[in-house]
């Protein structure tokens, strides 16, 4: 019973082993699909390295799976601002990812100033800030500041999007 419970608990890590295995298989299959004539100037060719890496990944995947099934566990990373005593707080992470995805979808159409401000505001909200107005002011100042900073300082034109002509 106890053993079963611990096995179930380690399941998430088996997903990692599966990921390693999948990447290993993809690397090997991709390399195998290359067709290169043998060349005197390059006896190693572009396939050798992928085969070695794919092999390494597959071996790691198998060993990791065995290790996990035997009760081995990766040690989650600590840090100054990390409290590992409570489980992952998905209610913070998922809205964060949402803000991030929203930015990806919007950046090319509405431009950096708007999408970047939304990204900052949304992230701050996801992280628990409830001072909406102050957050919004900071977000707009940051995105406007970086827009002009990149344009004037680095010579990079971030997309202006909807505000084309205004900025």
């Amino acid at each position: 019973m106890n053993k079963l419970a611990s096995r179930l608990k380690g399941r998430a890590e088996l997903g990692l082993a599966a990921l390693l295995g999948a990447v290993g298989v993809i690397v090997i299959l991709d390399a195998a699909s290359l067709t290169v004539p043998y060349s005197q100037a390059d006896p190693v060719g572009p396939k050798t390295m992928p085969f070695i890496i794919g092999g390494l990944l597959l071996v790691c995947a198998v060993l990791l799976a065995i290790n996990v099934l035997r009760g081995g566990q990766g040690e989650a990373e600590g840090g100054e601002d990390v409290d590992l005593s409570h489980p992952s707080d998905w209610r913070t992470v998922l809205p964060l990812v949402g803000a991030f995805v929203l930015n990806i979808l919007l950046i090319d159409t509405v431009g950096w100033v708007i999408s970047g401000a939304l990204l900052f505001w949304g992230s701050a909200w996801a992280l628990g800030s409830r001072r909406y107005v102050r957050d919004a002011i900071i977000a707009v100042v940051l995105s406007l500041g970086t827009f002009y900073g990149f344009y004037l300082g680095l010579g990079i034109n971030l997309p202006a999007g909807l505000l084309q002509g205004v900025l």
Binding site: A12, I26, L34, V44, I53, D81, V82, D83, L142, G155
Partner: protein, 543 residues
Amino acid sequence: METFDLLMQGFSTAATPMNLLYAFIGVLLGTAVGVLPGIGPAMAVALLLPVTYALEPTSAFIMFAGIYYGGMFGGSTTSILLNTPGESATVITAIEGHKMAKAGRAAQALATAAIGSFVAGTIGTALLVAFTPMVVDFAVSLGSPSYLAIMVLALLAVTAVLGASKLRGFASLGLGLAIGLVGADKITGQQRLVFGQPLLVDGLDIVVVAVAIFAVGEALWIAAHLRRKPLSTIPVGRPWMGKQDWKRSWKPWLRGTAYGYPFGALPAGGAEVPTFLSYVTEKKLSKHPEEFGHGAIEGVAGPEAANNASAAGTLTPMLALGLPTNATAAVMLAAFTQYGIQPGPLLFDSEPELVWALIASLFIGNTLLLLINLPLAPVWAKLLQIPRPYLYAGILFFATLGAYAVNLQAFDLVLLLVLGALGFAMRRFGLPVLPLILGVILGPRVEEELRQSLQLSAGDPAGLFSEPIAVGTYILVALVLLLPLAISAFKRFRPQPQGVPAGAESRDEVSAAEARQGATVASGPRETIAGEYQQQHDHKEKP
């Protein structure tokens, strides 16, 4: 005296007003990220990689070097005032430093840390000046097979020696090497792991990978595990030291430097082992051993010096061989590739102005750090009151900006998110980050050297062993891989002797054993510190 002339030229480049300004910005940012929770020098440099599009390399590296050294100074402030060492290198400082602060000697602890860091950083940089040209002279004579061997050693040493689980280290290395494969093969032009996606043909941009792993992955990870209960700082005035404190500090500074530099220069040497060794040494040599565990100033002075000297040591293999041995050096190396500069022994010939200005700026940065850290420590502590939502939202904001600015392609942001999720998963499941980033950076170079070596020998594998240095290095590789196995087998057959009196074993033997095992020797009076160290030593370097 040629080196001296070059260094003086470096000073004249580094001391131009613009470069001084960048050095100043660098040390300010570095101290800030060292103090702030959740941001470390590697993340800061990664987030600043976009400046490489506009800044000339010399100025950019002067700023990065300031961030690197500044992070070391700032890290000690939080470990003393808060007892929250963000990096494994400052775990030891926190042990005595925080006790000193609680006993009302925070000012002295901060002072000995800052002055010790300055002394060690300066001596370490001087050693860098002395040794790096020698390493370069040696390295220039090496051929592809030796290079290949050295890079393999560096990769394996970082993977197998650091971190709690070797298996997970190798998994991380494999993922990094696979990421490094993406794109068109340089020699044949064959597309690998491109999946018909034209945006992948040029490979994954190192900026995107570094920002994803160090900034996005870390920010998401912290967001998932925010520490809700606030801490409080120990109030502190301006750091200062009395005569007695100076007397007790200067020797530990020098001994710490002597430990730190060589370990920093070794692949996988890192800062953990020398800080630990320094602590043990000071405890043993101290005239006040009873104060250890209750706030002994030697226990702050020595490890803090070792920490900074190892930072200087790290730059030796990075500049001379193009081998990064910690995360910050790896990201700085990524910046070199952004400029199309090939790091390695030829760097000293091709870009002497850049290299020597960078080294000179280390001296300048160190001095600036002492000047801004001693009087301003209470101000820096105020940074800790920045509300978290702004801090981590800001990290995500600038990470997105940096990754997007590479190509102005929203596709890069998709990659950023995917690799950020990978970074999150790696932290969740205990995969160390450093092997991955080294795999991404060194993987393509390993392949290049491998192909060159075998091209010279027309495909005969014996070509890999055609140089004595290569053979020697492979023997070292074998030792790195097999020694831990041998030790654990040996331990299984012979249980640990109990109650060995301190000093019964010769110092060298002990140090060597500790170094090999990432310091797990616990006997006699070392037990407590080794235990404490063990508990905390798996903290990885703050990215």
